[in-house]
Structures are given as C-alpha cells and as structure tokens.
C-alpha cells in the first residue's frame, strides 16, 4: 500500500514536470475509472485479462519459474480461439481435444462455452477470470499435487530427495500457466474486440508479471492487484481529454513496483540481523542431514 502511494506520488511528480496539474489529473482518473458506472464497467473489462495474465505468472512462480512469455501465450490463445470458432463449430468433443493439445490455447474450449451463453461480454469474462483464480488457488494450495508443486518450486533439493519429478511438474505448471494466459486472449477476443486483430494484447503479458509480483505471487491477491492496475489504465484514458498523455498509467505502474521492490529491500535490511542466523541454522540442518 505504501508502495502504491509512493508510486502515485512519483507519478504526480512526473506529470508536474511535464507541465500538468497532477491533482486535477488524478481527480479525472478517479472519475474515469471508478467514479462513474461506465468507468467502473470499463475498469472491470480491463481487469479481466490482467487477472488472468497475473494469475498465469503467479502460478508458474509456484514451481519456481518466471513465465515472462504471457504476451505471446495470450495472443496464441486468441488465435486458437478464433480458429476453433471459425472452423470447428459442430464438434465440441474434438474441439476440446485440440484446445488441450495447444496448451496456450485452452481458451479455445472456453470460447465455445462463452458462445453458447447469450449476452456475452464483460461479466462472464470477469467471472471466468475470478473462477480461474479460485480454481488455480485450490489446485495449488489445497491439493496434494499442488503441495508437491510448491515444494518443487520452494526447495528443489528437498523435492529431489523426496523423489519428486521436478521437471515434469515444471512442464505441467507452465502449461497451466500458458493456458491461463491463453484464456485471457480468448476472453479478450470474444468479450471485447470480437475479432482477431493485431495488437490485441496491450502489454497484458508483461503487466501480468508486475501484477503477480505486486500480489507477492499469492494467487487470490492477483485479483486485487489486477483491479488496481486496471483502474490506473482506464483512469488514464480519461486523462487524454485533459492533455496528459495516457502512458502515465504505465509509468505509475512501473513506479509502484520500483517502490515495492525498494521497500522490500529496506525491510530485508532491517530484518537481516535477526533472520540470517535463524535461516543459516535451518539451511545448515537441511543441507547436511
């Protein structure tokens, strides 16, 4: 929270340097993103792909990997969904199969699901995103398999002693992660743009990494972090009328992470004295059984 405040503050400084009134700008952003019904609506729309890409990254983090390819996976998901929608209209079974083979394209299956629900759009997509967050959370945090994944990611050496196949878990989790990002693409396609276009992803993949980090890799916190970032993005659209460039949202997002990182580091310095000794003891105990 402190990092968010600092990020906003620093963003204000940037705007002031650019010759704009930051207070007015933030007021406009608030109006544009949360203060009105349409604003809130578009914030929710924007949050949907971000929840998913953030989730994709956070999931992969659980097995100790950084999935920074969410951008491409999202696009592949959108493409696969289009393909499925265009050519495989009659075969739901085969359709499912194709979608599962293409890990990044699990969205293909969902595409069909969305298509049969009348009145597609924002809310179904968002509900799906939150559902995906809950499902992933349950899978990783509440099942034995999920525990083994967390062990593999958290302490590979322990996992090896236990005889877990780390590589296999990595691949499976990455596939899930990719599928979630693909889902984002499919939902964005069916819910928002309604057709495949270049640049369907506006840095969603990379922003997802930041979101996952802001959420500290916690799967449910991802939803909140994504919502915050969506607010910033949608709010920044409102700024265009006042002449402040829209990229300010990107800048603020990055600054928030910078402050978060710096804050972490500062905390780590303070805690180090007490913690190093304890950690060293544990590490020594684990490494020499």
């Amino acid at each position: 929270v402190v990092a968010v405040a600092c990020g906003l503050l620093a963003g204000g400084v940037v705007m002031a340097l650019g010759g704009h009134d930051p207070i007015q700008a933030y007021f406009d952003m608030w109006q544009g993103s949360l203060g009105s019904t349409e604003g809130l609506q578009s914030t929710l729309i924007k949050a949907t792909p971000l929840v998913l890409t953030g989730l994709a990254v956070a999931t992969a983090l659980r097995v100790g990997l950084w999935n920074i390819g969410g951008e491409g996976q999202l696009i592949m998901g959108a493409i696969a969904a289009t393909g499925v929608g265009l050519y495989a209209t009659g075969l739901p079974g085969a359709l499912l199969l194709i979608a599962m083979i293409l890990a990044g394209a699990a969205g293909g299956a969902v595409w069909a699901a969305i298509a049969v629900i009348p009145g597609t759009g924002v809310h179904i997509g968002l509900a799906l995103a939150i559902l995906a967050a809950l499902a992933t959370w349950w899978l990783i945090e509440r099942t034995p398999w999920g525990f083994s994944v967390r062990v593999s990611g958290g302490n590979p050496r322990t996992a090896e002693y236990l005889g877990l196949k780390i590589a296999r878990r990595m691949v499976v989790v990455l596939a899930i992660s990719g599928a979630i990002a693909g889902l984002a693409g499919a939902i964005e396609l069916t819910g928002v743009t309604n057709r495949l276009q270049e640049g369907i992803s506006v840095n969603y993949g990379y922003t997802g990494v930041l979101i996952a980090f802001l959420a500290r890799g916690r799967l449910l916190a991802v939803v909140l972090a994504a919502f915050l970032f969506a607010t910033l993005v949608v709010g920044s659209y409102a700024l265009q009328t006042t002449g402040v460039a829209q990229p300010i949202a990107t800048i603020i997002q990055a600054l928030i992470i910078v402050f978060l990182l710096a804050g972490d580091a500062a905390l780590a310095f303070r805690l180090r004295i007490t913690r190093t000794t304890a950690l060293a003891e544990i590490a020594a105990a684990v490494s020499r059984p």
Binding site: P247, I251, V258, L261, A266
Partner: protein, 308 residues
C-alpha cells in the same frame, strides 16, 4: 545476385543496433547482472536521441544524449539490483515497462516528425566499388563500421585485461572475487550502466538513423532479441556480433522478399527471425548441457557480503 547483395547489406544495417544492444547486455551479464530492461532502455535512447536530434540538429549530441538516457535507466537497475539486491528479473521487466511508458510520455509530441539530421552512409573509397563485397560490407555508416571493432574491444577487455578478469570473476564467483580484493559492487555498477549506454545507442540508431522517426514502442521487441542473442552467442562478444548480423539478415529477407514479390505471407516472414531465435536458443541450451561453457555462474544472483 543483387537480391542477395541487398539482403546482406540490409542485414548489416538491421543487425548493427541489435549487436550494440546485445553487446551491452553481455557486459552486464558477464558481471553477473541480468538486465531484462533492454527494450525499455532502447526506447528511452530512441526517444531522447530523436528529440535531441530535432532540437540540436547534431547527431553527436543526439547519440550522446541517447547513451546517457540508456545509462540513466540502467543505473536505476544497478541501484536496485546491485545495491538493494532486489530480484533482477522483476526489476528488469519493470524497467522495460517504465521505459516504454516514459518514452511514450516524452515522445507524444514528436511522433510523425523527421529528425532533420541523420548519419549518412559513407562508402569507403575504392573498397566500396568491389563487386558484391563492396556493396555488402563497405557502404554503411560509422556505427556499422565500428561494430566489429567494438565487439573485438569488448572481447579484449573481457578476456585479455585485468579489469576483464575482475568483471568475469564478479559474474562467476563474486564471493571469491570479493575475498581477493576485487571491487565486485563497483564492477557490477559499471557493467550495468555501460550496458545501458549501449542499449540507448542502439535505440537512437533506430530512431535517428534507421527509421528516421519516433513511434511509440518502435523497437518492437528487438530488446528481447538482443537478450536472446547473448545466450545464442554463449556470452562471447564475437559470436554475439555474428548472431546479431545473422538475425539482421534473416530480418531483412522479409523486406527483400516483398520487394521482389515472392508470394509468401509477410507475417510468416516477419515471424522467421523469432522462430530462428527460438531454434537457436534450444540448440544452444542442448549444447550447454554437454559442455559447461558460457553462462556466468552467478548470473541473476544478487551478491551480498554477509550471506554464507
């Protein structure tokens, strides 16, 4: 024949900025710091170089400013990752996004304009009139001519100088290096900042020399390619340079095929360099599994004195 000559020649032009960015990243990674912010630093270099070119009509000032901009962004990375020891991957990505945002913010008023100056190609008298080779190798600008020497200089610095030994030690065994009196922190700072300077230069090459204009996100993922090239070249500047030129060549085929009207999808061709990179990455990785060469051992790991 003219088709291949054109492609090779254009490949050198496209490969030059990649080579600079990749060489910069190589320096940082050799010192043990991964900087995924190359894309952001290139964009900052591109926009700052472009604006300075607009204002001063001096290519020298433009490139100096671009290098400074890249280095400034890199020093943020250095402070955060070397000084505060935060996660290098997260910080690098943040840097990319920050660079993309800042450059778009700064450059809002400048898109669609032309810099008014450029670095013109200087055909080398005599050599440039050689058949085939002349056009391919000797009709370029200063930066393209300089790049092999820069790569060689970096190689000499890394592998034939005491400073280079220190730098590599900081990337392989920072603990041992520190114990034997090598200023690990200073070296890591310098390496990251120098790397940023190279990325800034590469960015300005795009905006001032190559496309002669600024557009949001104009580097188009080239920063990521530069990072991949470092792995491709197994952290050896000479191989990295060759990789960059090869990549530039594959990239240029796209335009060349279009200009002679080969009926292949342009999107498919545009994808080629990336597929190529992917294949090379997998190949390099397989090779690395057999022989343990290349990757600095402490790459990506923050160094702290008190630990262990």
């Amino acid at each position: 024949v003219s088709f291949w000559v054109n492609s090779l020649s254009a490949g050198i032009v496209l490969g030059t900025p990649l080579a600079y960015a990749a060489l910069g990243e190589l320096i940082a990674e050799r010192a043990g710091v991964m900087n995924l912010g190359v894309e952001g630093m290139m964009l900052m270099g591109a926009v700052v170089g472009f604006i300075v070119a607009l204002g001063t009509h001096s290519p020298v000032a433009a490139f100096a400013a671009a290098i400074a901009a890249g280095a400034a962004l890199a020093s943020l990375h250095a402070v955060m990752t070397v000084g505060l020891r935060v996660n290098q991957i997260v910080m690098g990505l943040t840097l990319t996004i920050l660079g993309a945002g800042l450059s778009a913010y700064i450059g809002t008023g400048s898109s669609g304009r032309r810099p008014g100056v450029g670095i013109s190609a200087i055909p080398i008298p005599g050599l440039s009139s050689l058949p085939v080779l002349g056009k391919v190798l000797f009709t370029h600008d200063v930066f393209a001519y300089a790049v092999p020497f820069v790569a060689l200089a970096i190689w000499l610095l890394l592998f034939r100088s005491r400073f280079g030994l220190w730098l590599r030690a900081a990337g392989e065994q920072p603990g041992a290096a520190d114990a034997s009196g090598v200023p690990v922190f200073l070296i890591r700072y310098l390496a990251v900042i120098a790397g940023g300077g190279f990325a800034g230069l590469a960015g300005a090459y795009f905006s001032v020399v190559y496309t002669q204009g600024w557009a949001e996100g104009m580097t188009n993922g080239r920063g990521w390619i530069a990072i991949a090239l470092v792995i491709f070249g197994s952290w050896n500047p000479i191989v990295v340079l060759l990789g960059a030129l090869l990549f530039g060549f594959v990239d240029s085929l796209n335009f060349q095929f279009q200009s002679i009207g080969v009926p292949v999808s342009t999107h498919l061709l545009a994808m080629m360099p990336y597929v190529f990179t992917l294949v090379v990455l997998v190949a390099t990785w397989t090779r690395m599994r057999h022989r343990h060469i290349g990757m600095p051992e402490a790459l990506g790991l923050p160094y702290e004195r008190e630990a262990r």
